[in-house]
Subunit: 113 residues, 2 copies
């Protein structure tokens, strides 16, 4: 069994409030939301951080940007606005080492900490 | 002449502290830095926001993630960590309507406002 929390969510071993899923991508609500809408969008492929990208991963990250846009629309924050945050490493407060884009929306002042 | 500030920087009409440039991407220092390292990474193609993506733009956004990673390394914040932020629309405080990823690093607590 994977020791990565998000890989376990992807595998279905740990429950999550999933709002989008396809072959390459999973999106689910953050369990400690910092905004009215706080979704995490992750690649199903385990990539620990941007520092661990492999050759050929770039198009997948490009697709994630489109999924983030689509989720913002579907969740009703496209018109009001939203912020996307990717934390890499200690100074950014990255806790789970599986790339996850935070999607924050639903109010002004969208910060993680 | 374009009315877009970042298009004018790309065209060379307005000076900027450029730190990386290739055929598709330009990176330059934010004039009002919110962290010891605060760089803006933009596509040279004018895309107002994620809401204005066209079919086929996704790979370009994927490439931007790799450029962000490379700049973080080159600027010496890869080991300490960095945060990437993309603002879309009013609630996120997007001011210039030309997609720009903020790269923040060099200290803990990396927020825009």
């Amino acid at each position: 069994m994977s020791e990565c929390l998000f890989c376990r969510i992807i595998a279905g071993d740990i429950p999550a409030d999933k709002i989008y899923e396809d072959e390459e991508v999973l999106a689910f609500k953050d369990i400690a939301p910092k905004a009215p809408l706080h979704v995490l969008v992750v690649p199903k492929k385990h990539i620990a951080s941007l520092e661990d990208l492999e050759e050929g991963d770039a198009p997948l990250l490009g697709r994630l940007q489109v999924v983030l846009r689509d989720i913002a629309r579907e969740q009703g924050v496209a018109a009001s606005g939203y912020r996307i945050i990717l934390n890499c490493g200690k100074d950014a407060g990255q806790v789970v080492f599986h790339i996850h884009y935070h999607l924050l929306g639903g109010s002004p002042g969208l910060n993680l900490d």
